[in-house]
Amino acid sequence: MNWKRKDLLGIRDLSKEEILFILDTAESFKDISKREIKKVPTLRGKTVITLFYEPSTRTRTSFEIAAKRLSADTINISSSTSSSTKGESLKDTARNLESMRPDAIVIRHGMPGAPHMLAGILDSSIINGGDGSHEHPTQALLDLFTIREKKKHIDGLKVVIVGDIAHSRVARSNIFSLKNFDNRIVCCGPPTMIPPHLETLGVTVEYDMNNAVKGADVIMMLRIQKERGGTTYIPSTKEYATLYGLRKDHVERAANDVIIMHPGPMNRGIEITDEVADGPYSVILDQVENGLAVRMAVLYLLIGGEA
């Protein structure tokens, strides 16, 4: 496999072979985190900037640790410390950062296409750490990695994605990645959170949670953004929890070896009950662990060799 990309902007751009290559590379990196000395000199002398315009602990920390375990230097810039509050444009901020010659910039931004804009003007490798409702490619890769680890294969599965599909970059990226491998994808949520034309992506839409989870091999719960509740999409988070919160009786309708995933952070008691989140089918903490390996692989592939 000849890896040629400068940037990782979205799963939709990647071929099946590229996705598998990243997963295979991640396998090699996963072991490092299990060792006493959790560090290799691979990216010594490289600089990785995380530029986060939206609050995030999980993704930013994961990228930072991934870079550090590869011996890269990391600098974190979050919206409260960046110049955005001073009215500096994204483009100017990026150009200023570029002058400091980082090798990679991980950007999270509330607006779709912001990473693409940076990729177009900067020489550094750009990694999309989540752009608005568009994509979150490393999340989909770590989800796929986790599915492969648990199921030993990533095809022929019934995968149910539950929640606010319309505004979820996690859902989009996962749909794009899973569709490469002949899986049955069912999207479930209130119709106000299902975007029109979703079926054109090759997924089935189901409004009834009980039907959706029937025989599922994988159930992915999406985080419900509380600020959307009680406004226009759903009457209240309480009602949402009743209709679309994942409970034990749902899990019982799924396949015997179902795995329950959640990109975090969870709203316990809303989209998922404690019992399920901490139950035997939950792989939520594996996802976090695998996120590290996948992000190490991505950093390595993008900035490890000569461009």
Partner: protein
């Protein structure tokens, strides 16, 4: 120009037997001994040494595979080197590690391998076994066990071939284009 064969199948077998005996002699048996082969062809050489030791001593030594890509000092000059898995399932602490590679040249691979092993723990000793020492070292590294010492010019390449992956056993010198 025709490739020049410097070791054929029989010669390789003899060389491996000799190295095996040297290892056993130097370490006074095989207690606390383990073998780690460097990807790719070091694995096959190490594997054969493991078999040879077994036939002499009746003991199967712990055996590991090391991928040194993450430790290379020239990584940023390579065109996307593929990272493969390191598979060392035993504890290297207080072990005598026999690091095995097919051809020793600049010593940079050995340096990377030593660093990689040190990150896994603190072995008692690391010894280096190679099939061919072709000279032209760039680092102060010396093999403990060398099958054949064979200085070749910089314009030539020494290739060790193993039947497991190359179809036959031989060591050849080829001109690099």
């Amino acid at each position: 120009m025709k490739n020049k064969v410097i070791l054929d199948k029989k010669a390789i077998q003899r060389t491996i037997n000799r190295i095996t005996h040297e290892i056993l002699e130097k370490n006074e048996g095989c207690t606390q001994l383990c073998l780690i082969g460097i990807r790719t062809r070091g694995i096959h050489l190490a594997n054969r040494i493991q078999n040879a030791i077994k036939s002499v001593e009746g003991i199967t030594l712990p055996f590991g595979v090391l991928d040194i890509t993450m430790y290379r000092d020239d990584i940023s000059k390579l065109k996307w080197p593929e990272v493969k898995k390191t598979e060392i399932s035993f504890d290297v602490n207080n072990m005598t590690v026999i690091l095995v590679d097919d051809v020793l040249h600049t010593g940079r691979t050995t340096r990377a391998a030593i660093d990689a092993i040190m990150d896994l723990g603190r072995p008692k000793k690391i010894q280096l076994a190679v099939l061919v020492d072709r000279g032209e070292r760039e680092l102060p590294i010396h093999p403990d066990y060398a099958g054949i010492v064979c200085p070749v010019s910089i314009k030539e390449e020494v290739l060790a071939r193993f039947s497991e992956i190359d179809g036959k056993d031989e060591v050849v010198i080829v001109k690099t284009p």
